[in-house]
Symmetry: C2
Subunit: 475 residues, 2 copies
Amino acid sequence: MAKENFVEQIADIDADFPQWYTDVVLKTKLVDYGPVKGTMVIRPYGYAIWENIQKELDKRFKATGHENAYFPLLIPMSYFTKEAEHVEGFAPEVAVVTHAGGEELAEPLAIRPTSETIFGSMYSKWLQSYRDLPIKINQWANVMRWEKTTRPFLRTSEFLWQEGHTAHATEEEAMEETMKMLGVYKEFAENCLAIPVITGRKTEKEKFAGAVATFGMEAMMKDGKSLQAGTSHYLGQNFAKSFDIKYLDKDGAQKYAYTSSWGVSTRLIGALIMSHGDQRGLVLPPVVAPLQVVIVPIAQKKEGVLEKCSQVKSALEKAGIRVTLDDGEQSPGWKFNEWEMKGVPLRIELGPRDIENGKALVFRRDTCEKAEYELADIVKSVKALLKTVQKDMLKSAKARRDGRIVYAKDMAGILSGVENGNFVKAGWCGCRECEDKIKAETAATARVYAEGEKSKTCAVCGKKALHTVIFARAY
Amino acid sequence: MAKENFVEQIADIDADFPQWYTDVVLKTKLVDYGPVKGTMVIRPYGYAIWENIQKELDKRFKATGHENAYFPLLIPMSYFTKEAEHVEGFAPEVAVVTHAGGEELAEPLAIRPTSETIFGSMYSKWLQSYRDLPIKINQWANVMRWEKTTRPFLRTSEFLWQEGHTAHATEEEAMEETMKMLGVYKEFAENCLAIPVITGRKTEKEKFAGAVATFGMEAMMKDGKSLQAGTSHYLGQNFAKSFDIKYLDKDGAQKYAYTSSWGVSTRLIGALIMSHGDQRGLVLPPVVAPLQVVIVPIAQKKEGVLEKCSQVKSALEKAGIRVTLDDGEQSPGWKFNEWEMKGVPLRIELGPRDIENGKALVFRRDTCEKAEYELADIVKSVKALLKTVQKDMLKSAKARRDGRIVYAKDMAGILSGVENGNFVKAGWCGCRECEDKIKAETAATARVYAEGEKSKTCAVCGKKALHTVIFARAY
């Protein structure tokens, strides 16, 4: 297709990936900048993706025994100081309400950057006996973290997310919950977003402020950088002790609970874009695509064309497929470009000759290939194709990622690895100095431990390695 | 049932309605007080009602051509001053962020009390041509209004709601949208919440700050007071002119759009409680009840009882009914009280003799009547009963309300009417003085115009009446 046919110009994905990203998110109307610096407006096309993400995740949360609730946006500043590491991590990013109802407040209030403290204070009130455990609550909410450098979906002062907060009687149960939700995230990312992820424990430096251990899932973007797509935290008794989350156990003793928390956010939309997008724009996996099929009539003024298109649309709709018919005045070529940019997984082209032959051309956005299908079987074929596209997108993203994981034995290896857009596995002694040195010299950070792998020596100091770590530059 | 069997004591509904309300919302775990004054934690049982409300409304919004989106929480204070009436109405209730990221902000930011201003600023940017109209966007969000006196669900500093914001080419279209959404709310309130509502236009005094006209829906609570359950505003060109929402029309001229906005909130949960609740606690209509059926085994340790209960539960679940089986250690009587307090529409009691006879006892929470049903047909019977309960609850609420609408010819009539817990219809000349006088002397406010009714004279000044108005004390 000739370049001049493109609906909107998008920067070259290889030459300028950041500009390509900005062009795609704005031109496909996923998002716009809000009037306050660092804020975003999630427009209907972007929000529809979020709604599909919510639907899929919420189903999984409920199937694993969680209930939804809603906790207040405003948290007394004094709550943050109760957990020492937590306040250190979040205080610098907090937005503070000092006035309300025309008066200065007695105590300044934080807009939640995360809600461990307020969940903790309520759990302390609700939890009496071992019979009340476990408590497993999730909330869908907005949070605010005042960031210096922001980019739509990836890092904004306000974003949408879900945060699960659970309390358990034992360490084992809380750890089991932490790992179970990490598993839920991984299954969801792979099967719904078609994004292969690596899960594993984070280093002390990279863990959540206040956690005993943080487990993350990392996804490789098309530029080779890593995006932290979700985290699950084992909080031990840290918050239980700070917020007095205690219960009367069977043996008559008062005991502190063990807690966990876990979350994913609208960042996942950024992950989708940078995992699958190409020069033509978005490529969306069918499970979360706002529209799964677009029907573009060819020679739509010819008798019977729009009628047949409407019939196909109705048949697909009845089968539960999200479909639109573009009967606008623009040319088919213009429409092709528009809907390709918007990443709709399948396009059905239907003109007088196709109708006469009982056929339809179907274009796959992921491979950009066209094939002919029998009109009589179109619903069955489309359903099967959507499943194929979903699977193939994961397969292809996984192949791309797996081809870009390398090993390094020393700092030079780490540097050249990440400069060539790879995830780099390297041995690490476990000390903060070596971790800091890698960041200073390569701009790569420790993403997660490579579970089950055992390097012999630290790539920095040469001492005995405690872990094999995946290093990458990250969003 | 003996009073001492009650799981929790609830204040007398007739003697102390406000305390009854507080007892019910707290003891059924719908809600709890948040740590910041005036905030609430919506607990899982309350939030599940909100999820059902959202599901039903969202379906209706989408069916009428609206899309969801998400706009930022923080609005520059300067935006409020652009619409003169709007700032006057909302500035006193605004919560203000003055510091963020460790620094004082150049401009203080308001936490949205409502989002006309920020939607307006974005619509101004997005709207170019008549082809872009109408714009019909809704958002589900939290909002904040700093209130002096607060009560869970009814008036809290933060609450959850949806706000629709639309822009149209003509006055007629914008007005049509305003009335259509009022109609959607009314149909939803009656068919889903089983709450009969009166819709109509509000007086200038009671209208939304910045609207040309506000239409409200009013519901009568069991104490005879009115609760404003939703509003739909025709904004004319007020916000279009303040925020420069303009488009290039077919004739080549730049024109201002006409806008509307409409919203309902978690207040609806308060309306549910006070419309249907009784001395035993909540009475929830099946469409929005978190649980529609509870199965209570009788003599559950007897062989086969729990097994049969589980079979019934699975059969109901498969039919899409929200059901739980209470196999806890408490006595059946304790469970009866507990689930009655929680307002579950139907209870199935199943013991060894019932199973032997192939029967089950079913208790209806709305009428507190029991009847026997064939176990073989239990799914069919329960489905039919849930529909009957839903309809009967509306019918009974409507009968109760209709019996408490009276007419008054003068101030004394208005006063005695509202003191006896009625909605009072009275003629009104249209002047602010008479409206204020009624409020001062009776504590009743003008709820809505009684559409289609024509009183002859104003109940206050005796001059010619412009409208028949429904006066009531209100939440």
